[in-house]
Amino acid sequence: MGLELYLDLLSQPCRAVYIFAKKNRIPFELRTVDLREGQHLSDAFAQVNPLQKVPVLKDGDFVLTESVAILLYLARKYKVPDHWYPQDPQACARVDEYLAWQHTALRRNCLRALWHKVMLPVFLGELVSPETLAATLAELDMALQVLEGKFLQDKAFLTGPHISLADLVAITELMHPVGAGCQVFKGRPKLAAWRQRVEAAVGEALFQEAHEVILKAKDSQPADPTLKQKMLPKVLAMIQ
Protein backbone atom coordinates (compact mmCIF):
# COMPACT_ATOMS: atom_id res chain seq x y z
CA MET A 1 0.00 0.00 0.00
CA GLY A 2 1.40 3.38 -0.99
CA LEU A 3 0.88 6.74 0.63
CA GLU A 4 -2.64 7.35 1.93
CA LEU A 5 -4.10 10.74 2.82
CA TYR A 6 -7.25 10.84 4.92
CA LEU A 7 -8.94 14.13 4.05
CA ASP A 8 -12.13 16.12 3.87
CA LEU A 9 -11.71 19.24 1.76
CA LEU A 10 -14.20 21.00 4.03
CA SER A 11 -11.24 21.28 6.43
CA GLN A 12 -8.61 24.02 5.98
CA PRO A 13 -5.56 21.92 6.85
CA CYS A 14 -6.78 19.15 4.53
CA ARG A 15 -6.91 21.59 1.62
CA ALA A 16 -3.29 22.64 2.19
CA VAL A 17 -2.13 19.02 2.25
CA TYR A 18 -4.20 18.11 -0.83
CA ILE A 19 -2.97 21.04 -2.91
CA PHE A 20 0.64 20.43 -1.88
CA ALA A 21 0.54 16.75 -2.76
CA LYS A 22 -1.19 17.35 -6.11
CA LYS A 23 0.99 20.32 -7.06
CA ASN A 24 4.13 18.30 -6.44
CA ARG A 25 2.73 15.21 -8.19
CA ILE A 26 3.10 13.13 -5.06
CA PRO A 27 1.25 9.85 -5.69
CA PHE A 28 -1.31 9.09 -3.00
CA GLU A 29 -4.56 7.29 -2.34
CA LEU A 30 -7.25 9.73 -1.29
CA ARG A 31 -9.29 8.39 1.62
CA THR A 32 -12.25 10.69 2.07
CA VAL A 33 -13.46 11.10 5.65
CA ASP A 34 -16.81 12.89 5.46
CA LEU A 35 -16.88 15.18 8.48
CA ARG A 36 -20.51 16.19 8.00
CA GLU A 37 -21.48 12.51 8.07
CA GLY A 38 -19.51 12.10 11.28
CA GLN A 39 -17.15 9.59 9.66
CA HIS A 40 -14.24 10.94 11.72
CA LEU A 41 -16.09 9.73 14.82
CA SER A 42 -16.42 6.15 13.58
CA ASP A 43 -14.64 3.19 15.20
CA ALA A 44 -12.99 2.43 11.88
CA PHE A 45 -11.43 5.86 11.66
CA ALA A 46 -10.38 5.75 15.33
CA GLN A 47 -8.14 2.85 14.29
CA VAL A 48 -6.39 5.22 11.91
CA ASN A 49 -6.37 8.24 14.22
CA PRO A 50 -7.51 7.98 17.85
CA LEU A 51 -7.57 11.81 17.95
CA GLN A 52 -10.52 11.59 15.49
CA LYS A 53 -9.26 14.42 13.31
CA VAL A 54 -8.19 15.05 9.75
CA PRO A 55 -5.85 15.29 7.92
CA VAL A 56 -3.99 12.04 8.55
CA LEU A 57 -1.10 10.64 6.52
CA LYS A 58 -0.43 6.91 6.42
CA ASP A 59 2.80 5.74 4.82
CA GLY A 60 2.97 2.00 5.36
CA ASP A 61 2.86 1.59 9.13
CA PHE A 62 3.79 5.19 9.74
CA VAL A 63 0.82 7.35 10.75
CA LEU A 64 1.16 11.13 11.03
CA THR A 65 -1.30 13.84 12.08
CA GLU A 66 -1.06 17.67 12.10
CA SER A 67 -1.04 19.31 8.67
CA VAL A 68 2.18 21.25 9.31
CA ALA A 69 4.02 18.03 10.18
CA ILE A 70 2.48 16.29 7.16
CA LEU A 71 3.50 19.11 4.80
CA LEU A 72 7.09 19.06 6.11
CA TYR A 73 7.23 15.26 5.84
CA LEU A 74 6.03 15.32 2.23
CA ALA A 75 8.39 18.19 1.36
CA ARG A 76 11.37 16.25 2.68
CA LYS A 77 10.46 12.77 1.50
CA TYR A 78 9.58 13.83 -2.04
CA LYS A 79 12.35 16.44 -2.29
CA VAL A 80 10.07 19.19 -3.55
CA PRO A 81 11.46 22.47 -4.99
CA ASP A 82 13.39 24.48 -2.41
CA HIS A 83 11.05 27.49 -2.33
CA TRP A 84 8.36 25.53 -0.47
CA TYR A 85 10.62 25.16 2.61
CA PRO A 86 13.99 26.80 1.88
CA GLN A 87 17.37 25.48 2.91
CA ASP A 88 18.53 28.98 3.74
CA PRO A 89 18.24 29.23 7.57
CA GLN A 90 16.71 32.70 7.70
CA ALA A 91 14.24 32.08 4.86
CA CYS A 92 13.28 28.78 6.51
CA ALA A 93 12.86 30.50 9.87
CA ARG A 94 10.35 32.89 8.32
CA VAL A 95 8.24 29.95 7.15
CA ASP A 96 8.53 28.29 10.60
CA GLU A 97 7.51 31.56 12.22
CA TYR A 98 4.31 31.82 10.17
CA LEU A 99 3.45 28.14 10.59
CA ALA A 100 3.82 28.48 14.38
CA TRP A 101 1.90 31.78 14.66
CA GLN A 102 -1.10 30.71 12.65
CA HIS A 103 -2.27 27.88 14.97
CA THR A 104 -3.67 30.17 17.64
CA ALA A 105 -4.14 33.22 15.44
CA LEU A 106 -5.39 33.25 11.83
CA ARG A 107 -6.34 29.58 11.80
CA ARG A 108 -8.47 29.92 14.91
CA ASN A 109 -10.17 33.09 13.69
CA CYS A 110 -10.96 31.65 10.27
CA LEU A 111 -12.41 28.53 11.87
CA ARG A 112 -14.60 30.54 14.24
CA ALA A 113 -15.80 32.79 11.41
CA LEU A 114 -16.99 29.80 9.39
CA TRP A 115 -18.69 28.08 12.31
CA HIS A 116 -20.26 31.17 13.83
CA LYS A 117 -21.50 32.54 10.52
CA VAL A 118 -22.55 29.39 8.70
CA MET A 119 -21.88 25.95 10.13
CA LEU A 120 -23.39 26.28 13.62
CA PRO A 121 -26.69 27.72 12.36
CA VAL A 122 -26.98 25.81 9.07
CA PHE A 123 -25.40 22.43 9.86
CA LEU A 124 -26.01 22.10 13.59
CA GLY A 125 -29.11 24.27 13.93
CA GLU A 126 -27.53 26.30 16.70
CA LEU A 127 -28.23 30.01 16.90
CA VAL A 128 -25.26 32.32 17.18
CA SER A 129 -25.93 35.75 18.65
CA PRO A 130 -25.11 38.79 16.52
CA GLU A 131 -22.75 39.93 19.28
CA THR A 132 -20.78 36.70 19.16
CA LEU A 133 -20.55 36.83 15.38
CA ALA A 134 -19.51 40.48 15.44
CA ALA A 135 -16.77 39.75 17.98
CA THR A 136 -15.49 36.84 15.91
CA LEU A 137 -15.39 38.92 12.72
CA ALA A 138 -13.61 41.72 14.58
CA GLU A 139 -10.95 39.27 15.75
CA LEU A 140 -10.59 37.96 12.21
CA ASP A 141 -10.09 41.51 11.03
CA MET A 142 -7.26 41.98 13.50
CA ALA A 143 -5.58 38.76 12.39
CA LEU A 144 -5.83 39.91 8.77
CA GLN A 145 -4.13 43.15 9.76
CA VAL A 146 -1.25 41.17 11.25
CA LEU A 147 -1.09 38.94 8.18
CA GLU A 148 -0.72 41.98 5.94
CA GLY A 149 1.30 44.21 8.25
CA LYS A 150 3.73 41.76 9.80
CA PHE A 151 3.99 38.88 7.38
CA LEU A 152 3.20 40.08 3.86
CA GLN A 153 4.30 43.74 3.98
CA ASP A 154 5.60 44.67 0.53
CA LYS A 155 6.76 41.23 -0.51
CA ALA A 156 5.33 39.11 -3.29
CA PHE A 157 4.69 36.20 -0.92
CA LEU A 158 4.54 35.92 2.86
CA THR A 159 8.14 34.98 3.42
CA GLY A 160 9.88 36.31 0.32
CA PRO A 161 9.82 36.41 -3.48
CA HIS A 162 8.52 32.86 -3.90
CA ILE A 163 5.53 30.85 -2.71
CA SER A 164 6.21 28.69 0.35
CA LEU A 165 4.27 26.43 2.74
CA ALA A 166 3.34 29.59 4.66
CA ASP A 167 1.35 30.98 1.72
CA LEU A 168 -0.36 27.67 1.10
CA VAL A 169 -1.43 27.32 4.72
CA ALA A 170 -2.54 30.97 4.87
CA ILE A 171 -4.59 30.96 1.68
CA THR A 172 -6.43 27.74 2.56
CA GLU A 173 -7.24 29.27 5.93
CA LEU A 174 -8.61 32.45 4.36
CA MET A 175 -10.89 30.47 2.11
CA HIS A 176 -12.79 29.37 5.22
CA PRO A 177 -14.35 32.80 5.88
CA VAL A 178 -14.63 33.30 2.11
CA GLY A 179 -16.72 30.12 2.02
CA ALA A 180 -18.81 31.62 4.82
CA GLY A 181 -19.49 34.69 2.70
CA CYS A 182 -17.01 37.05 4.40
CA GLN A 183 -15.36 39.56 2.10
CA VAL A 184 -11.86 39.18 3.49
CA PHE A 185 -10.14 40.70 0.49
CA LYS A 186 -12.45 43.71 0.21
CA GLY A 187 -10.61 46.90 1.04
CA ARG A 188 -7.35 44.95 1.17
CA PRO A 189 -5.75 45.37 -2.25
CA LYS A 190 -2.35 44.08 -1.08
CA LEU A 191 -3.89 40.89 0.25
CA ALA A 192 -6.08 40.51 -2.84
CA ALA A 193 -3.03 40.85 -5.10
CA TRP A 194 -1.18 38.27 -2.98
CA ARG A 195 -4.13 35.91 -3.32
CA GLN A 196 -3.97 36.16 -7.11
CA ARG A 197 -0.26 35.40 -7.05
CA VAL A 198 -0.76 32.38 -4.80
CA GLU A 199 -3.58 31.03 -6.96
CA ALA A 200 -1.46 31.47 -10.08
CA ALA A 201 1.53 29.77 -8.45
CA VAL A 202 -0.61 26.82 -7.31
CA GLY A 203 -2.51 26.66 -10.59
CA GLU A 204 -6.06 27.93 -10.88
CA ALA A 205 -7.61 24.60 -11.82
CA LEU A 206 -6.12 22.84 -8.79
CA PHE A 207 -6.98 25.78 -6.51
CA GLN A 208 -10.60 25.78 -7.61
CA GLU A 209 -10.89 22.01 -7.37
CA ALA A 210 -9.58 22.06 -3.80
CA HIS A 211 -12.02 24.78 -2.79
CA GLU A 212 -15.21 23.52 -4.39
CA VAL A 213 -16.45 21.99 -1.11
CA ILE A 214 -15.81 24.97 1.19
CA LEU A 215 -17.41 27.37 -1.27
CA LYS A 216 -20.64 25.37 -0.92
CA ALA A 217 -20.48 25.24 2.90
CA LYS A 218 -23.69 27.24 3.29
CA ASP A 219 -25.55 24.51 1.39
CA SER A 220 -24.68 21.93 4.06
CA GLN A 221 -27.53 19.58 4.90
CA PRO A 222 -28.58 19.90 8.54
CA ALA A 223 -27.14 17.13 10.70
CA ASP A 224 -29.62 14.60 12.08
CA PRO A 225 -30.27 14.89 15.84
CA THR A 226 -28.09 11.90 16.84
CA LEU A 227 -25.12 13.20 14.89
CA LYS A 228 -25.69 16.71 16.17
CA GLN A 229 -25.62 15.47 19.75
CA LYS A 230 -22.31 13.69 19.09
CA MET A 231 -20.71 16.55 17.23
CA LEU A 232 -21.82 19.68 19.05
CA PRO A 233 -19.60 19.38 22.17
CA LYS A 234 -16.59 18.49 20.04
CA VAL A 235 -17.21 21.40 17.69
CA LEU A 236 -17.57 23.83 20.59
CA ALA A 237 -14.30 22.56 22.06
CA MET A 238 -12.59 22.85 18.67
CA ILE A 239 -13.58 26.48 18.12
CA GLN A 240 -13.09 27.83 21.63
Binding site: R94, D96, H103
Partner: protein
Amino acid sequence: MGLELYLDLLSASCRAVYIFARKNSIPFDFQFVDLLKGHHHSREYIEINPLRKLPSLRDGKFILSESVAILFYLCRKYSAPSHWYPPDLHMRARVDEFMAWQHTAIQLPMNKILWLKLLIPMITGDEVPAEKTEQMLAEVKSNLKLFEEKFLQDKMFITGDNISLADLVALVEMMQPMAGNHNVFLSSAKLAEWRMRVELAIGSSLFCEAHDRLVKLAEWDCSTLDPIVKERIGNLLQKFK
Protein backbone atom coordinates in the same frame (compact mmCIF):
# COMPACT_ATOMS: atom_id res chain seq x y z
CA MET B 1 26.39 42.82 18.53
CA GLY B 2 25.96 39.10 19.04
CA LEU B 3 22.85 37.02 19.37
CA GLU B 4 20.17 38.57 21.58
CA LEU B 5 17.29 36.68 23.16
CA TYR B 6 14.41 38.72 24.53
CA LEU B 7 12.98 36.69 27.39
CA ASP B 8 11.02 36.53 30.59
CA LEU B 9 11.38 33.10 32.17
CA LEU B 10 7.83 33.30 33.47
CA SER B 11 6.85 32.25 29.97
CA ALA B 12 7.19 28.58 29.07
CA SER B 13 8.16 29.44 25.50
CA CYS B 14 11.00 31.57 26.84
CA ARG B 15 12.18 28.80 29.15
CA ALA B 16 12.40 26.37 26.24
CA VAL B 17 14.57 28.77 24.25
CA TYR B 18 16.71 29.70 27.28
CA ILE B 19 17.36 26.11 28.32
CA PHE B 20 18.17 25.06 24.76
CA ALA B 21 20.63 27.91 24.23
CA ARG B 22 22.34 27.39 27.59
CA LYS B 23 22.46 23.61 27.25
CA ASN B 24 24.13 23.92 23.86
CA SER B 25 26.53 26.64 25.03
CA ILE B 26 25.17 29.10 22.48
CA PRO B 27 26.50 32.55 23.39
CA PHE B 28 23.77 35.18 23.72
CA ASP B 29 22.79 38.39 25.47
CA PHE B 30 19.83 37.84 27.80
CA GLN B 31 17.53 40.80 27.23
CA PHE B 32 15.08 40.72 30.10
CA VAL B 33 11.60 41.94 29.11
CA ASP B 34 9.68 42.02 32.40
CA LEU B 35 6.14 40.81 31.74
CA LEU B 36 5.05 41.71 35.27
CA LYS B 37 6.06 45.31 34.69
CA GLY B 38 4.47 45.40 31.24
CA HIS B 39 7.78 45.95 29.47
CA HIS B 40 6.55 43.95 26.49
CA HIS B 41 4.36 47.00 25.77
CA SER B 42 7.31 49.38 25.81
CA ARG B 43 8.24 51.32 22.69
CA GLU B 44 11.64 49.65 22.61
CA TYR B 45 10.19 46.18 22.64
CA ILE B 46 7.40 46.94 20.19
CA GLU B 47 10.14 47.75 17.69
CA ILE B 48 11.53 44.27 18.17
CA ASN B 49 8.14 42.58 18.11
CA PRO B 50 5.02 44.60 17.24
CA LEU B 51 2.89 41.69 18.45
CA ARG B 52 4.37 42.34 21.92
CA LYS B 53 5.02 38.69 22.60
CA LEU B 54 7.94 36.74 23.98
CA PRO B 55 10.36 35.26 23.14
CA SER B 56 12.09 37.14 20.33
CA LEU B 57 15.51 36.55 18.81
CA ARG B 58 17.72 39.17 17.23
CA ASP B 59 20.74 38.06 15.21
CA GLY B 60 22.28 41.15 13.67
CA LYS B 61 19.49 42.59 11.53
CA PHE B 62 17.48 39.37 11.61
CA ILE B 63 14.60 39.36 14.07
CA LEU B 64 12.53 36.25 14.73
CA SER B 65 9.50 35.50 16.90
CA GLU B 66 7.73 32.23 17.82
CA SER B 67 9.65 29.88 20.12
CA VAL B 68 9.28 26.88 17.80
CA ALA B 69 10.82 28.84 14.92
CA ILE B 70 13.57 30.14 17.22
CA LEU B 71 14.42 26.64 18.47
CA PHE B 72 14.70 25.29 14.91
CA TYR B 73 16.83 28.30 13.88
CA LEU B 74 19.23 27.87 16.80
CA CYS B 75 19.41 24.12 16.21
CA ARG B 76 20.43 24.63 12.60
CA LYS B 77 22.70 27.65 12.97
CA TYR B 78 24.66 26.22 15.88
CA SER B 79 24.61 22.60 14.67
CA ALA B 80 23.15 21.23 17.89
CA PRO B 81 23.54 17.46 18.43
CA SER B 82 21.17 15.68 16.06
CA HIS B 83 19.00 14.08 18.75
CA TRP B 84 17.38 17.47 19.38
CA TYR B 85 15.80 17.42 15.90
CA PRO B 86 16.60 14.00 14.43
CA PRO B 87 17.43 13.70 10.73
CA ASP B 88 15.46 10.44 10.45
CA LEU B 89 12.30 11.32 8.50
CA HIS B 90 9.88 9.59 10.85
CA MET B 91 11.45 10.79 14.08
CA ARG B 92 11.65 14.34 12.79
CA ALA B 93 8.00 14.16 11.76
CA ARG B 94 7.07 13.09 15.30
CA VAL B 95 8.81 16.20 16.69
CA ASP B 96 7.00 18.38 14.11
CA GLU B 97 3.72 16.71 14.98
CA PHE B 98 4.14 17.43 18.68
CA MET B 99 5.32 21.01 18.06
CA ALA B 100 2.17 21.67 16.01
CA TRP B 101 -0.23 19.92 18.40
CA GLN B 102 1.10 21.50 21.59
CA HIS B 103 0.08 25.09 20.80
CA THR B 104 -3.58 24.38 21.49
CA ALA B 105 -3.41 21.06 23.34
CA ILE B 106 -0.76 21.76 25.97
CA GLN B 107 0.55 25.32 26.06
CA LEU B 108 -2.78 27.14 26.07
CA PRO B 109 -4.52 24.95 28.69
CA MET B 110 -1.45 24.79 30.98
CA ASN B 111 -1.26 28.57 30.95
CA LYS B 112 -4.98 28.80 31.56
CA ILE B 113 -4.61 26.80 34.79
CA LEU B 114 -2.10 29.37 35.99
CA TRP B 115 -4.50 32.21 35.21
CA LEU B 116 -7.51 30.54 36.80
CA LYS B 117 -5.74 29.30 39.92
CA LEU B 118 -3.34 32.13 40.66
CA LEU B 119 -3.27 35.21 38.48
CA ILE B 120 -6.96 36.08 38.17
CA PRO B 121 -7.66 35.80 41.91
CA MET B 122 -4.41 37.60 42.69
CA ILE B 123 -4.86 40.51 40.31
CA THR B 124 -8.61 41.03 40.40
CA GLY B 125 -9.33 39.77 43.90
CA ASP B 126 -12.11 37.62 42.40
CA GLU B 127 -12.29 33.87 42.70
CA VAL B 128 -12.97 32.02 39.49
CA PRO B 129 -16.16 29.91 39.61
CA ALA B 130 -15.19 26.37 40.65
CA GLU B 131 -17.09 24.96 37.69
CA LYS B 132 -14.82 26.82 35.21
CA THR B 133 -11.72 25.52 36.95
CA GLU B 134 -13.04 21.97 37.06
CA GLN B 135 -13.82 22.11 33.35
CA MET B 136 -10.31 23.38 32.61
CA LEU B 137 -8.65 20.71 34.73
CA ALA B 138 -10.69 17.99 33.03
CA GLU B 139 -9.56 19.22 29.61
CA VAL B 140 -5.94 19.25 30.73
CA LYS B 141 -6.24 15.76 32.18
CA SER B 142 -7.60 14.42 28.93
CA ASN B 143 -4.87 16.09 26.86
CA LEU B 144 -2.18 14.72 29.15
CA LYS B 145 -3.65 11.28 28.63
CA LEU B 146 -3.37 11.83 24.87
CA PHE B 147 0.21 12.99 25.35
CA GLU B 148 1.06 9.76 27.15
CA GLU B 149 -0.80 7.47 24.77
CA LYS B 150 0.16 9.06 21.50
CA PHE B 151 3.49 10.81 21.96
CA LEU B 152 5.25 9.16 24.87
CA GLN B 153 3.85 5.61 24.77
CA ASP B 154 6.36 3.21 26.32
CA LYS B 155 9.41 5.11 25.19
CA MET B 156 11.94 6.96 27.29
CA PHE B 157 11.43 10.16 25.33
CA ILE B 158 9.03 11.24 22.58
CA THR B 159 11.30 10.16 19.70
CA GLY B 160 12.75 7.12 21.47
CA ASP B 161 15.95 6.88 23.44
CA ASN B 162 17.05 10.49 23.43
CA ILE B 163 15.66 13.86 24.44
CA SER B 164 14.50 16.11 21.60
CA LEU B 165 13.02 19.59 21.24
CA ALA B 166 9.59 18.02 21.72
CA ASP B 167 10.37 16.80 25.26
CA LEU B 168 11.88 20.17 26.18
CA VAL B 169 8.85 22.12 25.00
CA ALA B 170 6.42 19.63 26.56
CA LEU B 171 8.04 19.75 29.96
CA VAL B 172 8.47 23.51 30.32
CA GLU B 173 4.80 23.92 29.42
CA MET B 174 3.67 21.29 31.92
CA MET B 175 5.64 23.15 34.61
CA GLN B 176 3.55 26.30 34.13
CA PRO B 177 0.71 25.36 36.55
CA MET B 178 3.28 24.75 39.35
CA ALA B 179 3.20 28.46 40.08
CA GLY B 180 -0.50 28.04 40.83
CA ASN B 181 0.26 25.13 43.10
CA HIS B 182 -1.00 22.59 40.59
CA ASN B 183 1.29 19.66 39.88
CA VAL B 184 0.18 17.72 36.80
CA PHE B 185 2.80 15.03 37.41
CA LEU B 186 1.07 13.75 40.53
CA SER B 187 -1.63 12.02 38.54
CA SER B 188 0.67 9.77 36.51
CA ALA B 189 3.78 7.81 37.43
CA LYS B 190 4.68 7.52 33.76
CA LEU B 191 4.58 11.28 33.32
CA ALA B 192 6.56 11.84 36.53
CA GLU B 193 9.25 9.39 35.40
CA TRP B 194 9.47 11.02 31.98
CA ARG B 195 9.79 14.40 33.68
CA MET B 196 12.76 13.16 35.74
CA ARG B 197 14.48 11.82 32.64
CA VAL B 198 14.02 15.11 30.78
CA GLU B 199 15.26 17.14 33.74
CA LEU B 200 18.33 14.91 34.06
CA ALA B 201 19.05 15.12 30.35
CA ILE B 202 18.88 18.92 30.55
CA GLY B 203 20.76 19.08 33.84
CA SER B 204 18.95 19.69 37.13
CA SER B 205 20.80 22.86 37.96
CA LEU B 206 19.99 24.52 34.62
CA PHE B 207 16.39 23.31 34.85
CA CYS B 208 15.91 24.70 38.36
CA GLU B 209 17.55 27.98 37.47
CA ALA B 210 15.24 28.37 34.48
CA HIS B 211 12.16 27.77 36.65
CA ASP B 212 13.13 29.90 39.62
CA ARG B 213 11.12 32.97 38.62
CA LEU B 214 8.06 30.85 37.84
CA VAL B 215 7.98 29.02 41.17
CA LYS B 216 8.30 32.32 43.04
CA LEU B 217 5.40 33.93 41.17
CA ALA B 218 2.98 33.51 44.11
CA GLU B 219 5.25 35.81 46.13
CA TRP B 220 4.90 38.64 43.64
CA ASP B 221 3.42 41.81 45.06
CA CYS B 222 0.87 42.55 42.40
CA SER B 223 -0.06 45.89 43.92
CA THR B 224 2.93 47.14 41.96
CA LEU B 225 1.22 46.16 38.73
CA ASP B 226 1.08 49.04 36.27
CA PRO B 227 -2.60 50.16 35.97
CA ILE B 228 -2.38 50.15 32.17
CA VAL B 229 -1.11 46.58 32.28
CA LYS B 230 -3.88 45.71 34.74
CA GLU B 231 -6.41 47.04 32.24
CA ARG B 232 -4.88 45.00 29.46
CA ILE B 233 -4.99 41.94 31.67
CA GLY B 234 -8.65 42.68 32.28
CA ASN B 235 -9.22 42.41 28.52
CA LEU B 236 -7.21 39.22 28.42
CA LEU B 237 -9.30 37.82 31.27
CA GLN B 238 -12.41 38.03 29.12
CA LYS B 239 -10.94 35.20 27.07
CA PHE B 240 -10.97 32.93 30.08
CA LYS B 241 -14.42 33.76 31.35
